[in-house]
Amino acid sequence: MSAVAAVRNHRQFLGRTSFIEMGARERARSILDEGSFRELLGPFDRLKSPWLPLQGIVAQADDGVVLARGTLDGKPALVAAIESIYQGGSMGEVSGAKIAGALELALRDCEQGKPVLPVLLLETGGVRLQEANLGLAVIAEIHAAIVALRRHVPVIGVISGMVGCFGGMSLAAALCSRLILTRQARLGMNGPEVIEQEAGIAELDASDRALVWSLIGGEQRHAVGLVDDLLEDDAVAIAASVRAAFAQGLPRQERSAQVELYLERLAAIDPQQPLDGPALRAIWHGAAQS
């Protein structure tokens, strides 16, 4: 790299706006066209969890999900952003219903010939255990809405970190038409701590951060084709990537429908042999979809 280029890169780095450091509301705002952000069911609507106060936990007025309508390159859009700081971004009855309900309305509009571009900012540990079965139920409703909506418009998911996307919501991410991750993001079904508890520390040492990221981090997920775009923590780059993802239109085949490809990929794996991130990259050669 030339000295000039190095200086330019450094300036770019300094000029970068961190997406990860933003709250959910600012993230949603930064994705949408400037000045187009309009929040639905905001804090003043006071739709809170009815279940947390029964357990002595203070309920936040937006239940940790920010819904915003606005535009992307002038086209009607919807952003659902999960606030990872509140209850670990967990899905309770209200927060989940906000996402499911918004996707259902986007579907209704699409069916009426008025496309809405849906973006999900997924920072969540999955079900909120204090609302257990209602969290699980609403996650199934989110899955249902994504599958129905995806037939009309691509559904774009963004996982930026630092919480990552886990549990039932990792299935929601996997159902997205296209997924955008940063290097700080993680995407997995079972959190490392849960695997350590359920299967033992010999199976996975959850405190080994390098190991965890080598299995489920953004870079690894991108290298094996489980996500579509890998970015630095840069709000401008993320907003541009979301637009580019919509510009590509519907994928030829959704990743979660690539049944024969993945059954073939699994058939080539011998569970008796050790397998790590780099070894899987060599086998799956990052074959991305469409």
Binding site: A102, L171, Q258
Partner: protein, 276 residues
């Protein structure tokens, strides 16, 4: 480390009871079983995920939904959709007795989240294509495994039996994560319906189409099987008379009581969706 190693035979028991077959699929893992059998006056497909102590992925030997289970469910359900494309949309009955998703390092690396999503996608796609999809809970319906196998159904039915349960996480693990004792967790479940594990508490949430009472879930006799068949047929008829989405889960009297917030969120959201 998990102590829940008891293996349930409920899935295979009910597959045999309803189809008189074992449902083994040539060239697929023995953990996924599919059988076609008459239900009323039409053929239906019955699908179960069952334990297999010799499963080649060790973390999916006790009835868990793992990598090959998720993708195999997806393939089998998509086959049924393809077969029904130009004709009658055959009912699909998911017999649910799944202890959890497969927990493992290898599972995460190979994308068990996508495998489970693929199964959920296939069931949802079958529902949207007009297949009546009915989940019959005969044992555990746990967490991600239930999301993959059953939770996308048009209608949820359950046997009224103490071993039939729905939850987001096993009791021991949930107690650790929420820093409570198992006893405290059980006490909370008595007061707060969504925290409970048993199917009678779950029925109060309004998500179940029917709780089928008085059936021997472990050793069903002819009368038990007949009763379940009738419940399935009624659920299929109800499904065909309604929309292909999951809105019926919000319309029961129990849902109006317990899921009032879910309904209120949707009502207010619709008001605000378009600028006044």
């Amino acid at each position: 480390m998990s102590t829940q190693t008891e293996v349930s035979a409920r899935g295979i028991t009910w597959l045999r009871a309803l189809t008189a077959q074992d449902g083994v699929i040539q060239g697929a893992p023995a953990t996924v079983r599919v059988a076609e059998a008459a239900l009323g006056d039409e053929p239906a497909s019955f699908i179960a995920v069952v334990p297999d102590p010799h499963n080649r992925f060790p973390r999916a030997r006790n009835g868990e939904v793992g990598l090959e289970e998720g993708w195999t469910l997806a393939r089998q359900v998509r086959k049924i959709i393809a077969a029904g494309k130009d004709g009658v949309r055959r009912p699909i009955i998911a017999l649910v007795d799944v202890s959890s998703q497969a927990y493992g390092r290898r599972e995460e690396l190979l994308g068990v989240h996508l495998a489970c999503a693929a199964a959920a996608d296939a069931y949802a796609s079958a529902r949207l294509a007009g297949h009546p999809v009915i989940a019959l809970l005969v044992g555990k319906a746990m967490s991600g495994a239930f999301l993959a196998h059953g939770y996308q159904a048009n209608r949820l039915l359950a046997l009224d039996s103490p071993e039939v349960m729905v939850h987001a996480m096993g009791k021991q693990a949930a107690a650790r994560v929420t820093r409570r004792s198992v006893a405290d967790l059980e006490k909370l479940g008595e007061r707060i319906a969504p925290m409970a594990y048993d199917i009678r508490a779950y029925a109060k949430l309004g998500l179940l189409h029917q709780l089928i009472e008085g059936v021997d879930a472990d050793a069903p006799g002819a009368a038990d099987v007949q009763r379940v068949r009738e419940a399935l047929l009624a659920a299929i008829a109800d499904t065909r008379a309604g929309p292909s989405d999951l809105s019926s889960r919000l319309s029961s009297p129990a849902a109006h009581a317990t899921r009032a917030a879910s309904i209120e969120v949707r009502r207010r959201l619709a008001e605000q969706w378009d600028v006044a």
